[in-house]
Subunit: 140 residues, 4 copies
């Protein structure tokens, strides 16, 4: 499995924990979401203005939980785009502890490019396709 070209660190918050004493399952989704948005910013595809300009909607998400995330752990999320369809983008994620390479979760999602002003899905813009393909080393 190729490693990730983009990682985003996450600070576990006390408010992320549940009665089992570790990070609540739904917060894993929050961690993936944060990594996804930072990835989009990192590639220059969203400038941080209106959230209606992000240009993606989430169509499907999956997470496999491998180990609990503890309050005291350093955490980072690897994120990458593995496939560009016509209107859909496939992402993969890995939540890991960089201090010992433990993998706490893997995930994937399907995003659809969306124009919030038109209120409809649109083909992936050419410049997005170019930027993403080059960053990830995908064939265009």
């Amino acid at each position: 499995m190729p490693s990730f070209r983009f990682y985003h660190p996450i600070e576990v918050r006390y408010g992320d924990l549940d009665p089992q004493g570790h990070v609540n399952n739904a917060k894993f989704m929050t961690y993936l979401e944060q990594a996804r948005i930072r990835y989009v910013q990192h590639l220059g595809l969203w400038r941080g203005g209106s959230f209606l300009e992000i240009g993606f909607i989430l169509a499907q998400a999956s997470i496999t939980f491998r180990a609990p995330i503890l309050f005291t752990q350093p955490v980072r999320v690897g994120a990458r785009i593995t496939h560009l369809g016509n209107k859909s983008v496939h992402m993969e994620y890995q939540i890991e502890d960089p201090s010992d390479d433990q993998v706490m979760a893997t995930g994937s999602s399907v995003l659809v490019t969306y124009d919030y002003k038109l209120g409809e899905t649109i083909p992936i813009p050419d410049n997005w396709r170019k930027v993403i393909s080059e960053f990830e080393g995908l064939s265009k």
Copy 2:
């Protein structure tokens, strides 16, 4: 202390709990917020369309924590407006278990009437003043 003319029930979610096994402190704020918005809807001051039409911003909030809220408890939040200033509205809250009248928290907040389109505070609209005063039995 007069009782409340408006109560909103809250279902405690597993996702509201923290490692102490009871509702996390920050979620008390979420409960008060939910009661506040339902109160505004109940009085017909917000029709449920754009959130930019709610017309209030929160300036100050305080909570006194009296007892933990447990997953298995029925919970309701009493909310009332106790004072109308020129641009400010004072609210009081009580989080309680209606099955045994236990009070888990009391709270208060100061809201300021705000026009999101103008981006500035505005005097309390006359019709708001009328509706609220009549509902709460306040002198206008």
Copy 3:
């Protein structure tokens, strides 16, 4: 597709919403979690005491997002167990608006029976298998 024998109502909270004005994707997981725990309670498999007696851990979760959930919508989550393995339980979910039968999301998860005191996975207890099979009409 058979309908669900268990539904749990969810009140959308203002605190569940994100800048797109609808329920944040991670909160869908919170809604499924809440339905799952109420299902387990409904079948008498957890009595509401220590959370370490719930007896399940989440191994995998998937959600397909079909439509946004709005603040003003009534929402319920259908939950059912579709398969009992040796140590694993398959659940399916549907988040819907009962006022017009719109489906906002479908989901599935794999749970593993777990003994928090031993700190290890265990086969599904016989009485759980009996209760679940009878409730869902599964062959044992």
Copy 4:
């Protein structure tokens, strides 16, 4: 006003935002909570094991909201203890943008020292009093 001897950085998450496009009010409480726990860790008063050893419960909290917190802002929370009573501890907080010294919120809370094993409040332990007084330059 003396400045803070302890600051904790917070990364604003997309999941912290609400329909107004800025950080939801209840998340301000989460930010203060996170700073408070890191403060307690920083002073060596909690070693990061069981959460039942934190030794504090929150009795009262207040926040004054001065400016919205945006997704793109760097954020830090200053936290300090300003008074040690017999069983109570007074804390003050400031949420600010270190890039331009803008203050987005100030807050305060009253904590009570609590023994989770006994299930009762206890006087502030002598070593806590010593460590805190020295760190903050309080008279003991």
